[in-house]
Symmetry: C2
Subunit: 426 residues, 2 copies
């Protein structure tokens, strides 16, 4: 290991907030306090206000001496306590970041975020190297989309998955209580993990036994992921088949569903869709995709001269990423990821990203097998460039057909989410 | 008291499901088992499948001997376990209900629902009386809208209010983390109680102290109820003022907001709005109202030639009424309401509705005053006709100005919802 440098440390949060991103923030603070700060190498631990935007403006929260009680409360508060940003720094922006680091004698740079954050970490690190300024840059993973490479899963995902599973459990009971066609739209522009988590709602003992692989008729009956090309005619036929058989149909679609050419269905269906500065159609914070799919089904499934089926669409919206009842495993792991990043700095690393490794699958123990492995995770350092600006998608073994997920996905996801309520059905 | 009659009992659930309507179902079953059934007067306790629709078809779940463990699980399951219905029986329909009761020797009739359910109870009772058939009819209150007369509050409301409060707490943190204009649309076509519950999200110690009445700048900053005429220009001016001051604005609107002539804003803004069989615009199960309000703000608040503000709209949808983490007080009271209805029958009453009476306000104890009254509720019988087909609205003392609720409302609502998470803000 190379020698350590003396200076201040800075921590930032970026991108969409999650229920546990403050756990990671507090983890870095704790790791620095008991490590580099205790050793006298890090003087101040500064939080960037609204990520790199605040850093370049010199806007900080000083976290060096914050009382542990307050840190614990902060860790349990959803959303980004420091404030977040959507800024994706280009070369010139990264130059300004480096200048700000020099100005405030920052030698340790921690950025909590998704693959874009990892990429900006990498660029800042390159610029610092070129300028012969010793700046150590670390990325801490975070995204409800679960789409970071090298990770078994990403902090933020298990808690959002828990919300989606609980919402679908309750909403399915609502759907059998007042039957009709129900569409739920879930976040995730490119990766379908969060949409797939809706399958955890299928838990009824009489209808679904994940151990023997019995097929469930519990909702959601149809799950559409961005990884599988969405064909409108096939979608209508799927819904019609269930509706004819059951008089109801419970559907979950990802906001990011796209056709075989990669064109988002939202962009095709929504008239006058809003496009952001990156050319993306605004998907979150709008109910338009669900409403358009509902209108489409109404048009196609209303018998000539007859009554249209009862069709409702809900878009889970922002509460799914910040719901204040996080998965306990997610809370713990997000904290540990932050602590681990600070330990990487203490160990003399110059850069790196933290990845979660699953050592014990947990799935069989979870599903009731006596001799099943318990769930165990550990952490390892990976190169920034292995995570930066790359997207992980649902692997083929997690996908079943064109409208379902596999048992393997359920086994992967259940241990992360933790206990779900038990329902009784007459 | 008059003498009791011998026969079967039937229980039905009607209207929109809630997180605790099965508590009331189980309460009636328990009350009958330990009372009229134990006394040998009620032979079978039958559940109507999908309310009066199932009754007229002779479709029942026999609940007489269901194991207590299963009943307890059922009570904790959100949504209507028997299935619900939107049927509002007219005279001819009520005639068929009476015939079904005669056919199955039903002498005790329990219906769990809102003001329409109370009304159908009343009509069935009148028809039975006119036909000289001794049928005892009881209504058990249920509605997330909290709009039943004679009740301090209605089972189902506290749990839905808890969801709305927690969602707004988390979403406000999200909004300060990534600033912009955020609109949340809450259920409630005619009464604003559930929308008002969003005010419970304003809890941050530094900014809101309900004891000393300090005004909060925590979100939601603007709350629009159906009881206050909605003026589009005033709404835009309200949002602009906050957005100019803070660079963000957190807004909650009821799906039922209407103009001074009672025309729903949804019907005015939504092009090609769907109208149901009662002539009502479909409000739930669609994100259209929030999206239209967002479009309106974007149009009005985008500076000439400038960038539009970041505007997002979420519609909380069906999860708010069935979220599987109910208020403990709501669970308990919903159960007791069912038990109390069965006790009314045992006491020889021929009809009636159950109303919740608040005996100890709970608000001062809740807010930390040492000598404050604890929250205590009791139950009383009211006439079916006092509840039937009537709507309670937010009283004027719960409303503050045209875009807020009063401290009095917060004191009324907080004890019902129970503990909310504590957040830390930097």
């Amino acid at each position: 290991m190379q020698e350590l440098v003396r200076g201040n440390a800075v921590i930032g949060q970026s991108g969409g907030p999650t229920a546990v991103i403050n756990q990671s923030l507090v983890g870095v603070v704790e790791g620095l306090r008991s490590g580099l700060h205790a050793a006298g190498l890090v003087k101040r631990v500064l939080g960037m206000r609204h990520g790199v935007r605040g850093l370049t403006k010199g806007e900080f929260h000083d976290l060096t001496d914050m009382h542990q009680d307050r840190l614990d409360r902060l860790a349990n508060t959803p959303s980004a306590g420091l404030g977040s940003t959507r800024d994706k720094p280009d070369e010139a922006y990264c130059e300004r970041i480096l200048e700000a680091c020099k100005k405030h004698d920052i030698r340790y740079y921690f950025y909590i975020g998704g693959n874009d954050s990892s990429d900006s970490c990498r660029i800042v690190r390159e610029k610092a190297k070129a300028a012969n300024y010793d700046l150590r840059c670390f990325h801490v993973p975070k995204t409800v989309d679960n789409d970071l490479k090298e990770n078994d899963h990403t902090p933020g995902f298990p808690s959002a998955a828990k919300f989606v599973a609980m919402a679908c459990m309750a909403d399915f009971m609502d759907n059998i209580s007042l039957p009709g066609i129900k569409i739920n739209v879930v976040m995730g522009r490119h990766a379908g993990f969060l949409t797939a988590a809706s399958a955890l709602a299928r838990r009824h003992d009489r209808e679904f036994n994940p151990l023997d692989g019995t097929e469930s008729t519990d909702g959601p009956q149809l799950i559409y992921l961005p990884e599988v090309p969405f064909e409108t005619d096939r979608f209508i036929a799927d819904v019609e088949a269930w509706y004819t058989k059951k008089g109801r149909c419970h559907i979950v679609v990802s906001e990011g569903i796209q056709d075989k050419d990669g064109v988002p269905i939202g962009a095709k269906l929504i008239k006058g869709a809003q496009v952001d500065s990156h050319g993306n159609v605004q998907l979150s914070g709008s109910g338009a995709l669900g409403d358009q799919l509902g209108d489409l089904l109404k048009e196609k499934l209303t018998p000539a001269g007859g009554k249209p089926p009862r069709i409702r669409a809900d878009t889970f919206g922002y509460v799914q990423r910040c719901w204040p009842d996080a998965s306990p495993i997610d809370q713990m792991e997000a904290r540990r990821c932050g602590q681990f990043a600070a330990q990487l700095a203490l160990a003399g690393h110059h850069d790196g990203s933290v990845a979660i490794v699953r050592q014990g699958s947990g799935s069989e123990a979870w599903l009731g097998k006596d001799n099943g492995q318990p769930y165990i995770s550990t952490y390892r350092r990976v190169e920034l460039s292995d995570v930066a600006a790359k997207t992980r998608h649902m692997p083929p073994e997690f996908i079943a057909g064109h409208n379902n997920v596999s048992r393997k996905f359920v086994e992967y996801c259940l241990p992360l989410v933790g206990p779900l309520p038990g329902f009784e059905r007459l």
